[in-house]
């Protein structure tokens, strides 16, 4: 069952990932990307990262790609369908990808740590329940449920609070920039 789950969603992810590159219509590319992200989210879930999976959908599929579609439509991009693709770039790109994957294959073959399944590395609820401090997390763990969101939240806000502030500044800068770049002045 888990293996099938993995293979199905990997296939979806990769196939639609390829579609993103292959499709000449940008809308098709964008939608393929959405599906690919959905598959990816499923893979995240299969790795017990519910929160990340949900965020992946919420942010990428729900917001980022809508923005892309919005822009594609706003700019009405169809021009590429009538143009010759750059053969050299395509060959180069594919060659690079093949080299990269080959390299990766070699790397993975060298990576002994990677030869385990999730069953080999089970989540130890009891041990974790003893270590964790927060009561809600403890109770969840005792019940055998992985309080994924709470744990991510705890990590983010207790350990990485400073970095969160930095990201806040980043978003502020981004927002200011977007407003500046797209502001239409009232004459």
């Amino acid at each position: 069952m888990p293996a099938a789950f993995f293979y199905i969603f990997s296939a979806i992810t990769l196939l639609f990932g390829v579609m993103v590159v292959v499709c000449r219509n940008p809308v098709a590319s964008a939608l393929s990307l959405v599906v690919s992200f959905a598959g990816l989210a499923a893979l995240f879930v299969s790795l017990d990262a519910y929160f990340i999976g949900t965020i992946q959908i919420l942010v990428y599929a729900g917001a980022v790609m809508v923005l892309f579609l919005f822009i594609i439509m706003l700019l009405d991009i169809k021009a590429e369908e009538h143009r010759q693709p750059n053969a050299l770039a395509i060959v180069g790109g594919i060659a690079l990808a093949v080299i990269f994957v080959g390299q990766l294959g070699y790397i993975v073959s060298q990576h002994e740590f990677g030869n385990r399944t999730t069953a080999d590395v089970p989540i130890l609820f009891d041990k974790a329940a003893q270590v964790q401090k927060l009561e809600t997390i403890k109770s969840d763990l005792r019940a055998g449920v992985l309080p994924d969101t709470k744990l991510v939240g705890q990590t983010l806000f207790q350990r990485y609070g400073f970095q969160i502030q930095l990201v806040g500044a980043l978003l502020l800068a981004g927002t200011v920039g977007v407003v500046i770049l797209s502001k239409r002045e009232v004459k």
């Binding site: 893979l43 790795l47 965020i55 892309f68 700019l75 030869n115």
Partner: protein, 105 residues
């Protein structure tokens, strides 16, 4: 059975697909999508590793924190990027990489 390496291979292939797209495609928007694909592939790698690196019996949430930051940053980048692309389009009415070729040398 599905091992960590399976996940790594999948994410690596996704990364490679994105890279190919970045190199081979001409439309800025599609290139940008491929970049998102690459970032997501990196995220998959991180999550896979985090699941297999148990800390106190739980997945390593430090890595997932990085994933969270990556996603956030990527979203901000997209927003800024699309704003620039729209502005460029307004200025030039095209979104091909090669159309953006006034600067050469």
């Amino acid at each position: 059975m599905v091992t960590l390496n399976h996940y790594l291979i999948v994410s690596g292939m996704l990364f490679a697909i994105g890279l190919t797209g970045v190199i081979a495609r001409r439309s800025i928007l599609v290139i940008y999508m491929c970049l998102e694909l690459m970032l997501s592939a990196a995220n998959l790698t991180l999550v896979a590793f985090s699941r297999f690196h148990l800390v106190d019996g739980l997945p390593d949430y430090n890595a997932q924190a990085l994933v969270f930051f990556t996603i956030t940053v990527a979203a901000a980048e997209v927003a800024v990027g699309l704003a620039i692309i729209v502005a460029l389009f307004r200025a030039k009415h095209s979104v091909d990489v090669e159309a953006a070729g006034k600067l050469k040398g």
